[in-house]
């Protein structure tokens, strides 16, 4: 099952991953990653901007690629957009599979692509105002580990 959601309000990852796991009876393992807004460097708020014509479609294509590449029963991607504060969940990826390796690798793969190749633009609010965030070199080297076509 492919479940891709872009949400504009705070979400509770545990509620979504419980529901996702229950939707896959007979699974051997579930791997979940939850990313939250870091409360460091004086960051007061973070804003993620999507482009509705492309962002969701890109994430659905990414989910399809992960489902093809790994032996999964299902993949859940939940991504928050809009303005959020430190400690709030931004992203939740959960993979269900018969065997653990597929679930763990699929989450790692999906997160690397979400972090570096999804159609999202980010800015941070610090005491002196809003600042756009440029791509990090680390994100691109993380992506290179998978040595696959760019989505």
């Amino acid at each position: 099952m492919r479940d891709v959601r872009i949400v504009t309000q705070p979400f509770v990852p545990g509620a979504l991953t419980d529901e996702f796991a229950k939707a896959h009876p007979g699974l051997g393992g579930v791997c979940t990653f939850v990313g939250e807004v870091r409360g460091e460097d004086g960051v007061e708020a973070l804003e993620l901007i999507q482009y509705p014509a492309m962002t969701r479609k890109g994430m659905e294509e990414l989910a399809d690629t992960a489902l093809e590449r790994f032996a999964l029963m299902g993949l859940l991607i939940v991504h928050r957009v809009g303005v959020m504060g430190p400690g709030e969940p931004i992203v939740c990826v959960s993979a269900a599979a018969h065997h653990r390796r597929a679930a763990i690798d699929a989450v790692d793969f999906t997160m690397d692509y979400l972090k570096s190749a999804s159609w999202l633009w980010k800015r941070e609010k610090r005491s002196d105002g809003w600042h756009w965030i440029e791509p990090r070199a680390q994100d691109h080297s993380d992506l290179a580990r998978w040595a696959t076509k760019k989505l």
Partner: protein, 80 residues
């Protein structure tokens, strides 16, 4: 008869708004001449991608937009 231009990320700051309407039809030269110099320069930058109705253009110069089309100027993504 208009084309909708959408500015993402820092290009929205540069444009002073998230979107605007400009006269259709519109090709690449027409787009560049309709934009302020700083935006036109950003649009030509290799790191700026152009999408027509949600599909990336592999060749920006081949842009052909008609009434009702949506052109997006996409600066480098910063990731989720």
């Amino acid at each position: 008869m208009a084309v909708k231009l959408v500015f993402l990320g820092k290009l929205a700051d540069l444009a002073g708004s998230d979107d605007r309407a400009i006269a259709a039809p519109l090709d690449w030269a027409g787009l560049l001449s309709a934009l302020e110099p700083a935006l036109a320069q950003a649009a030509q930058d290799d790191t700026t991608k152009i999408a027509l109705n949600g599909a990336l253009l592999t060749d920006k110069a081949a842009l052909e937009a008609h009434d009702g089309d949506e052109i997006a100027l996409l600066p480098p993504v910063s990731g989720g």
